[in-house]
């Protein structure tokens, strides 16, 4: 009897609590709705997602008709079965999400292939374990233990922001299931500014993405030219000539058509990076007797550390690639696992590399750790670094091409220019020439822009910080406000503030560096 009464009481209490919280939530969201914030789920987006599924099925059916009339083959029925089994709504969404935005129409035999979680992992590793790892021991020189802590902290934060960015792509439908209603960073930005400025957010994100991706491509060309020039000083080939030779080697990137091919390059790049790490760490371990454990500082060098902060924090930037990576995965449910493991691996490798290299050379650590190495190992490491730079180029190039094609080259009057792709999915010759022009553009910028590293620091602190810290937290708060728990809101706000601080400090220091470099040049 007592238990009955107790259970009834607890039920009533819980009901009262839920009604109160619902009312307060409704009041809050109503207030936000009046301020222009999104107050309800994106019903419209959900509707479009449903339409896309039906459209896909319809087209599959029509393709089957064409197949059977052309070939009278048995594969048609097989395709139809596949089509049915792909129709799932448990968070994976319709498989050909790439076709939603007017992307390639699939060929019958060569559908745009999906990438496995491993391949997505190679791509993310390519993005987060970049060339800046060579500057990490120098960061430890000026930052001590704080630098090490920052490497770990930045990995955690960037993993979190990547996950919340992908969470912004999904909406809960009336069954409580997650449906992928948006396809890219631009779509998320447009959805956030939806009531008042339907396309402003998209334009801002587009510009930021294009700048960031093109600057990354140019950086790889500059780095390979520089490394080759320093490796062969006796040959009469200047740095400009090496950059042109590197571009000739990179020209086949214009033919990239799918993420699967890019993933293969990223895999090779990761292998090269791993070899570099192993070589340097092995050499440092061979001098383990002379390690200077007492030299690792607890205090920081206030003048030089902010630059190191920039190097550490902005080396984990992979958020630009995540929406398209996740959209092309065979099993998007593995995304979270992939993010965790890639960031853990990057964090461990970077931390180990930085610490071990710093302990070996202590105060003599140079800005780029390869300057400390003896000549024979330096030559080998340089060759692998050049290979790594060349193999890292396809990913940002492919992403840049995708962004440009989506924003400027679509049929149906949606964009300024007509579509780059033919009916059967192959690229038109003038579309190919545009890709070649982009490759040549990166070369020209690499050759003619002085002080490129400083310029990259300047744009990185604006666009990189924006796309990696500020925008994901902002969009997450904006789109999923009603479903966020309080600790998630706290994290988002904290990341926004920290990202803002890093961005401003990076911007100021890059400007100072650039002004000083130009003044030095003019004085010379």
């Amino acid at each position: 009897m007592a238990t009955l009464i107790r259970s009834k009481l607890s039920n009533k209490l819980s009901n009262a609590a839920t009604t109160v919280s619902n009312k307060s939530q409704a009041k809050v969201s109503g207030m936000f709705a009046r301020m222009g914030f999104q107050a309800a789920t994106d019903e419209e987006g959900l509707g479009f997602a449903a339409c896309d599924d039906l459209d896909y099925d319809h087209r599959q059916g029509m393709q089957m008709d064409i197949l059977t009339t052309d070939e009278m083959g048995g594969e048609g029925s097989g395709e139809a079965l596949d089509g049915d089994s792909h129709y799932q709504r448990d968070g994976t969404g319709p498989p050909n999400s790439a076709s939603k935005d007017g992307d390639l129409v699939n060929e019958l035999t060569e559908a745009k292939p999906k990438i496995t979680a491993w391949e997505a992992g190679w791509n993310v590793t390519n993005a987060i374990q970049g060339m800046f790892v060579l500057g990490l021991p120098y960061a430890i020189l000026h930052g001590g233990y704080l630098g090490l802590f920052l490497i770990i902290f930045a990995a955690v934060v960037c993993c979190y922001t990547g996950k919340i960015l992908i969470a912004c792509l999904y909406e809960e439908d009336e069954d409580g299931q997650l449906v992928r209603v948006r396809d890219s960073y631009v779509d998320i930005a447009n959805a956030c500014c939806a009531p008042r400025f339907p396309s402003l957010g998209g334009h801002v994100v587009n510009v930021a993405q294009i700048i960031e991706l093109v600057m990354t491509c140019i950086l790889y060309v500059v780095v390979s030219g520089n490394l080759m020039y320093n490796s062969f000083p006796n040959m009469p080939i200047s740095q400009k000539s090496w950059a042109i030779i590197a571009t000739i080697a990179l020209l086949p990137c214009a033919f990239l058509r799918s993420l699967k091919a890019v993933s293969k390059f990223s895999l090779l790049c990761t292998i090269a990076h791993f070899v570099i790490n192993v070589l340097v760490i092995a050499y440092c371990l061979s001098r383990a007797r002379d390690w200077a454990w007492d030299k690792v500082k607890f205090y920081i060098d206030v003048k030089k550390f902010p630059i190191s902060i920039g190097i550490i924090v902005f080396s984990y930037t992979s958020q630009i690639f995540l929406p398209s990576l996740e959209g092309n995965m065979q099993k998007p449910s593995e995304f979270h696992c992939m993010m965790n493991w890639t960031h853990i691996a990057a964090c461990i490798l970077k931390g180990l590399f930085a610490l071990v290299a710093y302990l070996t050379w202590a105060d003599a650590t140079k800005e780029v750790i390869t300057d400390n190495l003896p000549p024979t190992i330096r030559a080998v490491v340089n060759i692998f670094l050049v290979a790594k730079a060349l193999l890292s180029y396809p990913l940002p190039f492919f992403a840049a091409v995708e962004v440009l094609e989506k924003s400027f080259f679509q049929d149906g009057g949606r964009a300024i220019f007509p579509d780059c792709y033919r009916g059967d999915g192959r690229i038109k010759p003038w579309g190919l020439s545009l890709r070649c022009i982009l490759v040549v553009f990166t070369l020209l910028m690499a050759v003619f822009v002085p002080h490129f590293a400083l310029l990259m620091g300047l744009t990185g602190s604006l666009t990189g910080a924006g796309l990696c810290f500020l925008l994901p937290s902002l969009f997450h708060l904006r789109l999923l406000w009603r479903k966020l728990l309080w600790h998630q809101v706290f994290f988002d706000v904290a990341i926004f503030v920290i990202g803002g601080i890093c961005s401003i400090s990076g911007f100021i220091h890059s400007m100072e560096g650039l002004v000083e470099a130009f003044r030095y040049n003019i004085q010379e």
């Binding site: 087209r59 064409i66 076709s99 007017g102 129409v105 020209l251 009916g423 190919l432």
Partner: protein, 277 residues
């Protein structure tokens, strides 16, 4: 007979006088005069010197020279000797003397009232295949450490001579002038305790033999460093041209490949554009 004797001695004396006079005149006529044309150069450190003979130039030298001379100075404890370096450039207002020959030439540049003297000796040589070249055979630099404008508190001041040993430099085909804008360095061993004096010259153009016209250099011959720089400048252009060629060929091949394999059934296009209406 006496009158004849007198007239003979008289005429002999006259003849001797005339001969001496002619000789003196010929010496005056053949005298090589040095000319300082440094006012014509645009670089404030660059000096232009010419040696003229018979109304035409026979040796022309145009360069900017820097000297690095070590000398001893007494240390503060009064016992030890410290080596200091004096660095100075060849002034434009120096005096020139020179000697021209068909196989050997020499130029002598002095300044500060003969406190500093720089002598450069040129000679010619026959290489195999009958090619004649000229080169610098010796450089000699005389300096006075008691001269206070460049040497301060020198220990045991006095004149010292620095010479090169086994020098083979600026080898140029005969009849051409040597041009080098890059820096060239020579080390001379001084009589002052075998110290090394460094002479660097840059923006050089020299011709010691066979100058065709007055004050005009013959065909220039570039030094190796300049030639390499030229190669470094033209190489990017060549590579850029190759890159453009590769792009054009690739696009043309792709275009024709598409044309040949064009017959595919037109697939229905997807209708996801409705979102943007």
């Amino acid at each position: 007979m006496g009158r004849l004797g007198f007239s003979t001695t008289e005429s002999a004396r006259l003849l001797l006088l005339v001969v001496f006079g002619v000789l003196a005149l010929s010496v005056v006529l053949a005298e090589q005069e040095g000319e300082n044309l440094s006012g014509l150069s645009d670089n404030p450190d660059k000096a232009i010197f010419a040696v003229r003979e018979n109304g035409t130039t026979c040796l022309m030298v145009e360069f900017a020279v820097r000297f690095l001379v070590p000398y001893d100075v007494l240390a503060l404890n009064g016992i030890d000797l410290i080596t200091e370096q004096a660095a100075f450039t060849l002034p434009r207002g120096a005096e020139i003397e020179g000697k021209c020959g068909s196989t050997e030439s020499e130029i002598q540049i002095t300044w500060k009232n003969k406190a500093y003297t720089l002598r450069i000796y040129f000679d010619t040589e026959f290489r195999d295949k009958g090619i004649e070249v000229w080169k610098i055979s010796k450089i000699q630099f005389v300096y006075d450490t008691s001269e206070t404008s460049h040497f301060t508190n020198a220990y045991n001041p006095g004149k010292h001579t620095a010479n090169t040993h086994h020098l083979l430099a600026l080898v140029t085909p005969f009849g051409r002038s040597y041009v080098c804008s890059a820096q060239q360095t020579f080390t001379l061993i001084s009589s002052d305790h075998q110290k090394g004096v460094t002479i660097s010259m840059y923006d050089t153009q020299i011709q010691p033999f066979d100058i065709a016209s007055d004050f005009i250099f013959s065909e220039p011959y570039k030094c190796i460093t300049d030639q390499r720089e030229r190669l470094e400048e033209t190489l990017p252009l060549i590579l850029g041209f190759i890159l453009a060629l590769i792009i054009v060929i690739t696009l043309t091949v792709y275009h024709f490949h598409l044309k040949l394999t064009a017959n595919q059934p037109q697939l229905p296009r997807d209708r996801s554009m409705y979102k943007n209406m």
